[in-house]
Amino acid sequence: MNQSEEGKPAPRLKLPFIVGGKRYVAPGEQQVLRTEDRCEVILPAFTADVKSKIDGLDRNLLRDVPIQDIIAFLNRVGRNWRSSEYSRRRLFIAQLQMVLGYSEEAAEHEADWIGVLFTSHARMLDLLDIELGSRFILDEWVRSDEAMVHAYPVGRVTHVLPGNVPSSTVISLLRALLTKNISVLKVASGDPVTALSLALSLIELDASHPVTRAVTVAYWPEDNELGAELIRSSDGVVAWGSAIAVQRAKERCGAEASFTPFGPKRSLALVGRGADPHKAALGVAHDASLYDQAACFSVQEVFVEGDLEPFLTELDAGLRRYESLLPPRKLSTDELAYLNGRRLDQEFAGGKLYATASRAAIFVAPADAQLDPPLEAPLQRTVIVRPVKDLVEALAHVDEGVQTVAVAPWDVIAEHRDELAKRRVSRIVELGLNNVFRIGGTHDGMRPLQRLVRYVSHEAPAREFPKGMVLPLDQTKILENKSFQDVVF
């Protein structure tokens, strides 16, 4: 260990909170977050003052703002993000490297995603159509059979955000804005950067825009009582991250508030006999390299049917190729020691180390390897390859903890789709596309926008014949004539 690395003061980064679209800088107290040995982030303390300012925000701020205005504003924000000259983008890229240890390439890719997601106006309308039934339903009463239905925001949504998958923050915020909610983005100690960068980019475009004012960014430690109260008084809670973080958020969520959990999940890949080893391996390399396997859609295990060696050779090459396309995150000494420990554990449990690149590693697990619970996956681009005679053998390793099953070749999926669904996976995709959530697809078994709105129905009057009746609905007359059974078919 480099002795000069030990005890070297970490660089410091001072960041504000954002409350209702305004910078909030605490006069006195501060919180210091240390992200491994990379950086110290100084934030204002989460005080009663911050909380009361958040409590004072208008929960109906966006209620009467037309969807098109919201989307148009997001689009303008996204266009900024798409420009490599945009200073906020440049700062974000620098901060992802400094705080999260991202490589420049991976940080650039993350910034690209922000631009793409914010400018995807047509897809946003499709999303409203698919998840809420109509893209007009948040703006007006929409005919829904014998009723007119209008969706409204639930009010204030608190997002408990994850630490090292920045795009989750982007998606979480977009969903809430698209449903006209105001948001409190409670950042994770590992990533205070993404949410703040988004909020600041809104402020920079138009500080007085209602969308800007609908965004609050803060941090409080898990055991902070004011933070817990804020969650209790929220109308909706969206919780991402570890099982403990999601469980705590659920316990604090109000009884009538909506709760949307995106708890820990893992993903795996199935490579059938007919797959092109080069294409399949490159797909696995992509899906295991993005976010260094920290995302729920990151492939951790691959079940390979048939000839193993060509696939392993290609996978080794693919992982190396991705190490240059998206270089791995810079890890602290402790994170590296932890990773090495987990990999050693894989070996003890029966995994055979096939190859290592500068970060990535491939283990081959024979059938008798004890890689099942509670062995911890090493992550950081560690791919566990399990040779199988038939992909059916993979089913024994699939449970509700599996989010995405990535498959190659595509046509073998028809055979396994129903069994996988019965075992409660939530997505089946083609290998290499794990991070692309297609329009119409679901997320962890849900259509999340539905959890962020409340529906009001304005139902048909008596003069409109109810379905199954051929005359107006006069309940008194029906009772007097004892004709209920006769008139309702």
Binding site: A295, D334, Y338, N340, G341, D372, P374, E376, L379, D399
Partner: protein, 378 residues
């Protein structure tokens, strides 16, 4: 209870129980002895623990590969997490007499299964004339010394390894224990130390640093000074647990404790290193270095590559302990340390270790699930 009918027969037992002082021998002599002891242990675990043997096989290491002291680093080592999830035995299960866990309240704990021989060897180290303790315990005997244990008694220590180890000090002198249930009887402990200082030549207060700190606060709060002089000794071990925020660095700790207890010399305060997966105590000398006995091979690994590091370089602390018979005690530990071979500033030859800090575990802040839930068949 494990000390009867077990005559020292093997080399390891003759070193652990024998009264020859390895510290009187050169660094090289100790190294040769270490090679022999640890290699023998490696051969035993290869022969007796199928999981370990197959792991060593995957790593491509056999007993024949261990020919010189420098080869000891090749012995395949396990991360401590292995003991958190599975039983790894090198003896038949019916020979296990106790299953130990670490202290602390959070997270999954290691469980270490120890048989009579393994525990017996630990007991064999716990004698005041063992070179393990340097000359810290010189002159201590049952008639002139007493031990005030800021922990539970042996019968109350349950499966908590640290408490068990500390309670074994009762082999050396009469011991009173002051943790009953979850209560620490501080006032009683302070009163008994005062009384013992009058009656005895040597009084030892043993416990984790945070309880020793509480003990000092109790003394200060009582208003009446406690005159430790050259009769009171403080023996600490273990970490600060859930009171990490109160952690004092060693220098500050010695100052606070030395002043509170009016110790004649801060060297009356000594620390010991141990963890549930390790079967040996590493005791601090006058120069605050922890001496490593010849049955333990200690070295560090580069955290980035896990390759062994040269003498003196800070890295992940690793052990191979030959006294463990019931489980392969070949460990990659959870601390950052430096290990040095040579003559310590205290004048004793051999291997010493200096702890730098504990490694932080991973926060895994993402949403990837790393521990699979139990797979249920439809």
């Amino acid at each position: 209870m494990f000390t009867q009918n077990l005559a020292p027969v093997s080399l390891i037992d003759s070193v652990v129980f024998g009264d020859h002082d390895w510290l009187e021998n050169s660094v090289e002599w100790q190294a040769d002895l270490r090679l022999e002891l640890v290699r023998e242990a490696f051969a035993h675990h290869l022969a007796s623990c199928p999981q370990y043997a197959s792991f060593a096989d995957r790593k491509g290491v056999t007993a024949e590969h261990i020919q010189t002291v420098d080869d000891l680093v090749r012995i395949p080592q396990l991360p401590t997490s292995v003991f958190k999830r599975q039983r790894v035995l090198s003896v038949p299960p019916d020979e296990i007499v106790m299953n130990f866990t670490s202290s602390g309240t959070s997270g999954t704990k290691s469980v270490i299964h120890r048989d009579g021989v393994t525990l017996h060897r630990l007991c064999g180290m716990m004698r005041s004339d063992s070179p393990l303790f340097g000359n810290y315990l010189d002159g201590m005997d049952e008639t002139n010394s007493t031990i005030i244990n800021l922990g539970p008694s042996r019968s109350d220590s349950g499966n908590v390894w640290f408490s068990y180890v500390m309670s074994l000090l009762e082999q050396m002198a009469p011991m009173q224990s002051y943790v009953v249930g979850s209560d620490l009887l501080l006032k009683e402990a302070v009163d008994d130390v005062r009384r013992s200082l009058v009656e005895m030549d040597k009084v030892f207060v043993v416990g984790p640093p945070f309880l020793v700190s509480d003990f000092c606060q109790e003394v200060i709060g009582a208003g009446a000074p406690l005159e430790g002089g050259d009769s009171l000794f403080v023996f600490t071990g273990g970490g600060w647990k859930n009171r990490e925020s109160e952690r004092m660095d060693r220098h500050e700790f010695n100052k606070v404790v030395g002043e509170a207890l009016s110790l004649a010399d801060p060297l009356q305060i000594r620390d010991v290193f141990n963890q549930v997966e390790l079967n040996t105590l590493l005791v601090e000398c006058e120069h605050h270095r922890k001496h490593v006995p010849p049955w333990v091979h200690a070295f560090t690994r580069d955290p980035v590559t896990f390759e062994p590091l040269p003498d003196g370089e800070a890295g992940v602390l690793c052990f191979s302990d030959a006294t463990a018979k019931s489980y392969p005690c070949f460990l990659v530990g959870d601390d950052v340390a430096r290990v040095l071979s040579g003559v310590c500033d205290c004048g004793r030859p051999g291997v010493t270790m200096e702890l730098v800090r504990r490694l932080r575990g991973s926060s895994h802040a993402g949403c990837a699930e790393t521990i699979r839930s139990t797979v249920q068949a439809d």
